[in-house]
Symmetry: C2
Subunit: 308 residues, 2 copies
């Protein structure tokens, strides 16, 4: 098993200034695994859905190279449902409905054949669930990446710190980095968070790009692509994580140099996701489009200065 | 004359979470010309001060290669004074005092020997003053750059649009780009603003970097350097403009490729300014420090992806 992903598979209902969806498929696990599958056909997903969830989507994931044996389907219950409305700036949103349903008592079970993954991605879930997955892993992966959010800092601080101590990479947004560290400066925040244990920190700044820090105080910055329209930001961070880990697991190289490349592929993946509602853009993404998009990132930041 | 700069020379009094100054020297013209003088010793400044202004600062500018013959000293009157207090996030501030004084009826006179500059920088002043300077220029410069702000969009819209039509490069921040264009997307905003006449638009995003757009829809992005501490943001945008124009005027190359380099040098200059109150850091800047800083920008964004 090259890449094991744990994350929600769910229904979303989204309203943006550009329109409104009905119930569509979302969830961190869906975005992460679909994005990773662009680079690797050796991905497995651990999640839970209710019996209301369409089997056709799991079949679709299988077709893309995502093994869904670890996606539990709970009879007689409903899938996680989130509904939200984005403000005009697309950076802030109101949650209208959160129905945890099967996610409320999710007790992840990692099938035996997935217990020695090379790469492990812990999508945004309760720290207890993330820790439970780690405890079932039998061989230390090359890289364990954890995504989390402010909600868990408010609700389960001690459990979150405990799981952060166990991972190699943390991905959070800028406000969350400030909350987690108590530092306003992101440079200081990064060093405090890395002092907890992780080797790398990715700070996602949405339309303002992403920063990668390591303990040697190296910093890498990847811009977000300036887009004519951000149609729906849902899943951008998860697509980023999926592209990042998909690329790393396909290249099997966890050097800082290769992580920079992975950050660019992750950023490219996020830039596609926001172009349409939900998973639509990721489901229809070609390798040619990805190459063209990465070239746009190269052109965006490339300059030549010869210092003497 | 290689570079002619028009901008305020003034007193500031600044409060940030890190401390509070007395009356110190500031003003767009001071930051721009001092930053540009790092690259070129053929810079002239057009401005106005009161008789309360220390001649020693003008002497200092002269020493650095800035000709101050065009800085009018008005007997019996006081210099422009601005006082402001930055909030904890350093991105927002309250203006406490604005005393226009001599700037209120500034009627710029460009000395005869400065009327054919290769490069002209119109610092943030009323569009009427900016237009008056343009009208005194006898030979079309290689590049005319205009900085402005939301205040003039609110107070003198028609005059601002008229002067924007006359220049090659406009520099504004992201909120101002949105106000000027009526578009939220910066990509769309840029094209609308370029439709007014300028060939290039620089959108300054403060701690989130800067974007350079041209009419061929090329985009270049330069990050801001992640700093441990932003001590005082005053003058960052003007230092950016000064570095940008200083580099362009020293290299005499206005290709898009060289503008990218100029944007990096401008960003480096801004990153120094915010490290201390007022002009302090710019006044004590060595070429070695500048080279090291530019290398930090290179390291920050450099990655190698070979697309096949």
């Amino acid at each position: 098993m090259s890449l094991l992903v744990v994350g929600s598979v769910a229904f979303d209902q989204i309203e943006t200034p550009f329109g409104k969806t009905g119930k569509i498929i979302g969830g961190a696990g869906s975005y992460i695994s679909l994005a990773a599958a662009h680079f690797s056909d050796d991905v497995a997903l651990i999640s839970v859905v209710g019996e209301d969830f369409p089997k056709s989507f799991l079949d679709r994931l299988n077709t893309e190279g995502v093994n869904t044996k670890g996606v539990e389907v709970v009879k007689g219950r409903k899938s996680f449902f989130w509904s939200g409305k984005y403000h005009n700036d697309m950076n802030t949103r109101d949650t209208l409905v959160t129905e945890l349903n099967v996610l409320g008592d999710f007790n992840p079970v990692v099938p035996k054949e997935f217990r020695s993954p090379d790469f492990l991605m812990l999508g945004n879930l309760s720290p207890q669930v993330q820790m439970e997955v780690i405890s079932q892993i039998e061989k230390r992966p090359k890289l364990v990446v954890l995504d989390t959010m402010n909600f868990w800092m408010d609700m389960a601080w001690d459990e979150l710190i405990a799981v952060i101590r166990k991972v190699d990479v943390v991905t959070i947004n800028d406000e969350e980095a400030r909350q987690l560290s108590g530092e306003y400066s992101l440079v200081k925040a990064a060093q405090k968070i890395l002092d907890l244990g992780p080797k790398y920190l990715v700070i996602k700044k949405g339309e303002h790009g992403a920063l990668l820090f390591n303990r040697a105080k190296e910093v890498f910055f990847a811009p977000a692509l300036p887009l004519e329209e951000v149609f729906d930001p849902t899943g951008a961070g998860d697509s980023f994580a999926g592209g990042f880990l998909g690329y790393l697991s396909a290249t099997r190289d966890v050097s800082f140099r290769n992580m920079k490349r992975a950050i660019i592929f992750g950023s490219a993946m996020a830039s596609f996701t926001v172009e349409k509602f939900g998973l639509e853009r990721l489901e229809n993404l070609t390798s040619n489009e990805m190459d063209e998009r990465v070239q746009e990132f190269i052109d965006l930041v490339q300059f030549d200065i010869a210092l003497v």
